[in-house]
């Protein structure tokens, strides 16, 4: 294709080709900290014109690649960056086999991770971004990758896709303007702006960490915490996983192993501040529990 680049995020390598220059330039900027050397990629993504005419007249970006959805609607060229991100997500969701993939965000501290999963809009992405600015290591806001052999999390720290109100709240939180991507208005998900992860999170992205706490956050509700038992966690995570079925027995082992090894809670919170504070509280309780166990051993 006319324009292309290569990007590695965590263990996954992408080759992105485009009929236009702009989306590739934007990707190079957004992913400036990531390895970009060419190698045989895990996935190929194509941003292509819906027709020859549409390359120049009111250009429309069709999302294509190794794996595509038959009903994926094209996006206007101004949202080419979003199209690239969606296409990369799609490749992971449908094609990745080396880890159990959970549609979730995660942060880590002292080598132990909190996994946060929920439907779109539940706040998992914003919560992980917020915690990342408050001393946690950011592992990813879209996918959590569980290694079926070790049960560890392989970080997948993609640029954080901030939506609507969370854009302003993160702009207040982050001093460094250069970490933000362009503002994209009127996308299918509203206004979107990417936040680049801190360079050290990208440098450390090959370093795995261990899941310790599983949260099912819900944003915009009155504060509440409820324990979630193993069976419910299991069912909810099969629904949050894009490749559980495809992994077969390895997926079953990884997921049953995960839900049996971590404490799980559903948390409702009214705003980001309250959410971050709840995570911190549950984390310190968890720490006490781990400490007790270590002391007893």
């Amino acid at each position: 294709m006319r324009h292309s680049c290569s990007i590695a995020v965590g263990p996954a390598r992408f080759r992105i080709g485009s009929d236009w220059r702009a989306p590739i330039d934007q990707l190079r900027q957004l992913y400036a900290d990531y390895p970009m050397e060419q190698s045989v990629p895990d996935f190929t993504v194509r941003l292509q014109a819906t027709s020859v005419l549409r390359r120049v007249i009111r250009p429309q970006v069709a999302i294509a690649g190794d794996f595509t959805l038959p009903d994926a609607a094209p996006l206007p060229l101004e949202q080419g960056l979003l199209a690239a991100e969606m296409a990369m997500n799609l490749q992971m969701a449908l094609g990745w086999r080396r880890h159990l993939l959970l549609h979730a965000s995660a942060v880590s501290r002292n080598g132990r991770a909190v996994i946060m999963t929920g439907v779109s809009g539940a706040g998992k992405s914003t919560l992980s971004a917020l915690l990342g600015e408050r001393g946690w290591r950011f592992l990813g806001d879209e996918f959590v990758l569980i290694d079926p052999d070790t049960g560890n999390i392989a970080p997948f720290p993609r640029p954080i896709s901030l939506k609507n109100e969370s854009i302003a709240s993160m702009e207040r939180e982050v001093d460094d303007d250069t970490r933000f991507g362009p503002v994209m208005h009127d996308t299918p998900k509203g206004t979107i702006r990417h936040l680049r992860p801190r360079a050290e999170w990208v440098e450390q992205m090959a370093r795995e960490t261990r899941p310790a706490l599983l949260l099912f956050p819900r944003f915009g509700y009155a504060r509440a915490v409820r324990r979630v038992d193993e069976a419910e966690s299991f069912v909810r995570l099969t629904q949050a996983s894009t490749n559980y079925v495809a992994l077969g027995e390895r997926g079953f082992d990884a997921l049953t192993g995960l839900v049996r090894s971590v404490r799980a809670c559903a948390i409702d919170y009214a705003d980001g501040e309250e959410g971050a504070e709840l995570v911190e509280r549950l984390w310190s309780e968890q720490g006490t529990r781990l400490g007790d166990r270590a002391a007893a051993a």
């Binding site: 080709g17 060419q38 194509r46 099969t238 996983s241």
Partner: protein, 345 residues
């Protein structure tokens, strides 16, 4: 330049990939994926020396091959259980048939929907039994429905409510709108029984079906894989089936598919060097009719980005939802007894 021929070369001569650099590998893998031959390529290259990053990709593909074929065979088994009370033969078609019969053509082959063939006068009963066993209509559109029943060679597609897998129930192997009218009764009568009680078409009929499929496939999007099937099957059958060449000629004539089989075999010989088993009066050695060249151009039309080139209709790698649907919390619903753990005390 990478195209379908690059993939054909890698499949027929695995040693030929030895000289590929990273760009060559990247393009080969994309082209093979676009042609639905990545699974086959991964198996063919299983023992070849590979650069580490290509090896990772192909290892993932081989893993998917295993789960994909397992699911396909389970769908066949589920249909067998559902149709236990149907007295007629249930004949597996295409990829599921190759896998169930253990044919070489199954190696690495991606398998989508379950395709079965039953006698036309058994359709109503088969339909009723499948509906009873949890399959449901994909599109409850009366127009589509009538269209399928009147003109197509199959029932409208059914999807299983909890397993999310489709079944196509055929009563013959070409749409009634197509030119040739294969002898469906003969297909079923000659089918071979598997230990499970299901059937597969006879070897000659399998080739006839694959050839019919090639000509019925309007944009030839699955043409390359279809021809690879034919190549693998022919190589196996000429060794294992005595008189295969003559039988194939007879069956092709019976089904009105002599031209289709002839063309398919010429094309697969061009692409994959398939041994000659089928001689037609027309055309001397070495001369390929012009229309064959056109077919080959379209069939091999893919580039190193996985784009279908030469104005070919794009083929989506169609993936249905992978969401696991739990069987309805089966017994929790009607727990009818009080089960108390431990001994009665």
């Amino acid at each position: 330049m990478t195209d379908g021929w690059s993939v054909a070369r890698a499949l027929t001569d695995p040693a030929s990939v030895a000289g590929l650099d990273s760009t060559g590998w990247t393009q080969l893998l994309s082209a093979a994926r676009a042609l639905s031959l990545i699974g086959t390529l991964a198996e063919v290259l299983a023992d070849a020396p590979l650069p580490p990053d290509a090896a990772r990709v192909l290892a993932d593909v081989r893993h998917s091959n295993v789960t994909g074929q397992r699911q396909a065979l389970w769908e066949a088994e589920s249909a067998r259980m559902a149709l236990a009370d149907y007295p007629g033969r249930v004949v597996l078609l295409k990829g599921t048939a190759f896998a169930a019969a253990g044919y070489d053509a199954a190696l690495g082959r991606s398998i989508g929907d379950l395709d079965i063939l039953v006698a036309r006068d058994g359709l109503d009963q088969v339909e009723a039994l499948l509906l009873k066993a949890g399959w449901e209509w994909v599109k409850p559109d009366p127009y589509d429905d009538a269209y399928y029943r009147q003109w197509m060679h199959e029932l409208p597609p059914l999807i299983h409510a909890t397993r999310d897998r489709m079944i196509d129930v055929h009563h013959t192997i070409l749409p009634l709108t197509a030119g040739p009218t294969p002898d469906a009764a003969a297909l079923i009568a000659d089918a071979r029984a598997l230990p499970s009680g299901l059937y597969v078409l006879s070897p000659a009929d399998i080739i006839c079906h694959a050839a019919a499929h090639l000509i019925a496939d309007g944009d030839l999007s699955g043409g390359m894989r279809n021809l690879w099937d034919i190549d693998r099957l022919v190589r196996q059958f000429i060794v294992e089936e005595s008189g295969f060449s003559d039988t194939l000629a007879e069956r092709a004539k019976l089904h009105g598919l002599t031209d289709a089989v002839g063309r398919a075999l010429r094309l697969s010989a061009q692409l994959f060097g398939t041994p000659i088993v089928f001689r037609q009066a027309q055309g001397g050695s070495g001369s390929v009719p012009a229309i064959d060249s056109l077919f080959l151009r379209r069939i091999t039309a893919v580039d190193g980005w996985g784009r279908k080139t030469r104005k070919l209709t794009r083929q989506a790698f169609y993936i249905r939802s992978h969401l696991l649907r739990m069987p309805p919390a089966m017994l929790a619903r009607h727990l009818w007894t009080k089960w108390r753990k431990g001994h009665r005390g």
